[in-house]
């Protein structure tokens, strides 16, 4: 049907304000509020548009407020950006080829590192490592003797038997003292333990009868052909890194003299015993 085939609505005194409704194919009376017709606004999609509410308006206002005071791009800044972009022109950036070449170099480096790791772990490089530094270890005393048959004492001088006298080893000013003892006898181990004592003076004295100063240390006997390593240190960090073939203990610093002794049953010269004192200041 069409609008021009339908009858108009009439009011009391004539034709009423109306509109044509194509859905019902009828004219329908107009309604309004505050002197105006009701109006439906359609959006670009042909659907009735949602009207702005107070809440939506407030949200828009808040967004606009955010833009207030913003420093937008100026011509000066745009020019600065253009210059920066221009400066990139002609740069030699990494190409696929250069990246591939770099990858090859890295693979070669990786292989060489693996070889080095193998050398260090399988012993190939054993003896080829060079250490350098400024640590100076002073040799304080060296003794080589086959004397046995009783306890033998060593200090700055020695060896002497319990009935003898000697001058203790001067350890003043040393932070670390190392004692190496090799029992060169293939027949007898030592007995009655190794012994390290400290002395208050460097005077010639009888070590067996000297006034005892704590600490005194006794260590396990050294078997035939065996060796003993001892580190006396005032540095506590040494105690965390005790070498696997050595014994580290702490000693009281500021002591004056040291005496080392061993006892062995051998009655003859069946192998030299070696005593080496060294120190680090």
């Amino acid at each position: 049907m069409a609008y021009n085939t339908r009858p108009l609505k009439r009011a009391q005194d004539g034709v009423a304000p109306q509109y044509y409704n194509p859905t019902t194919d009828e004219y329908e009376a107009l309604h309004g509020t505050a002197g105006a017709n009701h109006v439906v606004i359609y959006g670009p999609d042909g659907q009735p548009a949602s009207l702005a509410t107070e809440a939506k308006l407030e949200a828009v206002r808040a967004l606009l407020a955010l833009l207030e005071g913003k420093d937008f791009a100026t011509d000066t800044k745009a020019e600065a950006i253009r210059l920066l972009l221009a400066s990139l022109d002609g740069k030699n950036f990494a190409s696929e080829t250069t990246l591939a070449a770099l990858g090859t170099e890295l693979e070669l480096l990786k292989a060489e590192l693996a070889d080095v790791k193998t050398m260090l772990t399988d012993g190939t490089a054993k003896g080829e490592v060079t250490l350098s530094g400024t640590i100076v270890r002073d040799v304080l005393g060296y003794f080589s003797t086959s004397v046995a048959g009783g306890r033998q004492f060593f200090g700055a001088t020695g060896p002497i038997s319990p009935a003898g006298t000697l001058r203790p080893l001067d350890i003043r000013g040393f932070r670390k003292i190392s004692i190496y003892f090799l029992n060169g006898s293939p027949t007898f181990g030592t007995r009655n333990k190794l012994r390290v004592t400290f002395h208050r003076t460097l005077d010639v004295q009888s070590p067996e009868n000297a006034f005892a100063i704590a600490p005194q240390y006794e260590f396990d006997n050294v078997p035939a052909n065996g060796s003993f390593r001892l580190l006396l240190t005032s540095d506590l960090s040494d105690l965390a890194g005790t070498p696997p073939d050595g014994l580290a203990i702490r000693y009281l610093p500021d002591l004056v003299g040291l005496v080392f002794s061993y006892d062995q049953a051998s009655t003859g010269a069946d192998g030299d015993k070696i005593i080496l004192f060294s120190g680090v200041r």
């Binding site: 006997n221 035939a224 073939d245 050595g246």
Partner: protein, 64 residues
């Protein structure tokens, strides 16, 4: 028969006896290389060389 001391771990050519003590393997082999039993080790030591306690420890730990 294989020497019993070949079962003992060697570090840098030395046998670590503990508590700062060690012995080089060559010397050790010269002394005990012919032993094939625990008793032979003790016999060679003769309670003089000073290894009896160490051998006992190795036996307790199941090394030899």
């Amino acid at each position: 028969m294989m020497s019993l001391i070949n079962e003992i771990p060697v570090v840098n050519g030395h046998i670590i006896l503990g508590d700062g003590l060690s012995v080089d393997f060559v010397s050790f082999q010269q002394m005990f290389g012919e032993a094939t039993t625990f008793q032979e080790l003790l016999d060679i030591d003769g309670n003089e060389k000073g290894y009896a306690d160490y051998f006992q420890k190795l036996r307790t730990e199941g090394v030899i």
